[in-house]
Amino acid sequence: MFAFLANPARFMAFSAWAAPVLFAGALILFATGIPWALFYSPPDYQMGDTVRIMYVHVPAAWWSMGAYAFMAGASFVGLVWRHVLADVAARAAAPVGAVFAAICLVTGSLWGAPTWGTWWEWDGRMTSMLVLFITYLGYIALWNSVEDEERAARLAAILCLVGAINLPIVKFSVDWWSTLHQPASIMRSGGAAINGEMLGPLLTLGGAYLLLFGALTLMNMRSAIFRRRVESAELRRAQS
């Protein structure tokens, strides 16, 4: 598929209908997932209704890591095969991933207040998530502070690959430091260990976040490509 989309013109044609479709899909999943999570799923026997924050928190956590993994893949492709579209994709995904990471941090912190009695603790998972968030900021800042786009793309790709070391740390932090945060109960070997009635809305919302991520990234990519076209048209006009 990547080879197919590698051509910017074909990509523009594809994304012109793919982005709205993904967006619509995301809306539908949100429309089913949110009421399901808020009204039709059971409260937790320990945490009561606050457990509903989970439906925002956990998908955001998943896809902030997913977005970074996507960026790392795209950066690799961009570095090795010098593919412009890969650079654009990596850059386009970053703000979305950063917002997901911020949502995860904020909701986690909101959730922590009633359940753990603290807004913030420096446990391994929270810390590594914060590190991931900062890495996102650094990545975006690096892109913005180098003028030449091609150079910015390569520099940012190097940073992205180096920062990818943090992903396994986020994922496995709960196993390495047994502290406050929940260990993985869904994505773990041996199958999910969570109440099925909670699993349904959680997975629905996970899908909704994914589609949203896809839609926003495609839209960012499209606007970046449009901007480049406008700029090079202006350049040509200025030079003729």
Binding site: T118, W122, L130, I134, A141
Partner: protein, 216 residues
């Protein structure tokens, strides 16, 4: 436009050239983030050690900007032009100081709020911490001007600078930290204000005197 305004404007633009007002905060946030990483998540410990550490981070953030403050001017020939300007060098030095404070002291003071909370300071003390950071960074900048001017012609000045400046940072840190931890707030505040005033008044004068010796 006066020499003060022109210098202030240019310095601020140069300091912000990197990435807007967000930029200076990175160092501060970064430095404070290291604290709990290193100390572990022990809540009680953070609660006592945290707020003072905000002050250390603020001091080091200012310090990080000082090394090249006048050194760069010396190397690229800008210092010659400042010396030849009809405006007193004291005015120019204080414009540089003011720009430094706006570029880094003020954002640090504002950023002090979330950081203090993350480091477990009680919420009602946060406005006090912000105000004291604003005063304290002004004192740091005043003292820092002197150190930066003294070491402008020294190779790898950074460390000599730290040796000169950090002892002078001590009083604001001590009283700032005591504001942050809620002890004798009023007395500490007035001393902090005194430090800031003294720094703002004496810093540019001493710095100008040192700078006049640096050209050759």
């Amino acid at each position: 436009m006066s020499a003060f305004a022109a210098t202030f404007r240019r310095e601020l633009a140069l300091m912000w050239a990197g990435g807007g007002a967000i930029a200076p905060l990175g160092y501060f946030f970064g430095a404070t983030m290291l604290v709990p990483l290193a100390m572990g998540p022990d809540r009680a410990l953070l609660e006592t050690a945290g707020p003072p550490l905000v002050w250390i981070a603020a001091a080091l953030s200012v310090l990080a900007m000082l090394e090249r403050l006048f050194q760069a001017d010396l190397e690229d020939g800008s210092l010659d032009q400042m010396l030849l300007s009809p405006a007193p060098l004291e005015v120019i030095a204080s414009a540089k100081g003011a720009a430094l404070w706006v570029a880094i002291g003020l954002p640090i003071a504002l950023a002090g709020a979330p950081v203090a909370i993350a480091l477990q300071a009680p919420v009602e003390r946060v406005p006090l911490i912000v105000a004291s950071l604003a005063l304290g960074t002004a004192a740091f900048v005043g003292v820092g001007l002197i150190g930066a001017a003294l070491t402008a012609s020294v190779k790898r000045a950074g460390v000599l600078l730290a040796l000169i400046v950090l002892p002078l940072f001590a009083p604001p840190i001590i009283f700032g930290a005591s504001v942050a931890s809620g002890e004798e707030v009023f007395a500490a505040f007035s001393i902090l204000g005194g430090c800031a005033l003294a720094g703002a008044a004496l810093g540019p004068i001493a710095a100008a005197a040192a700078l006049r010796l640096q050209a050759e």
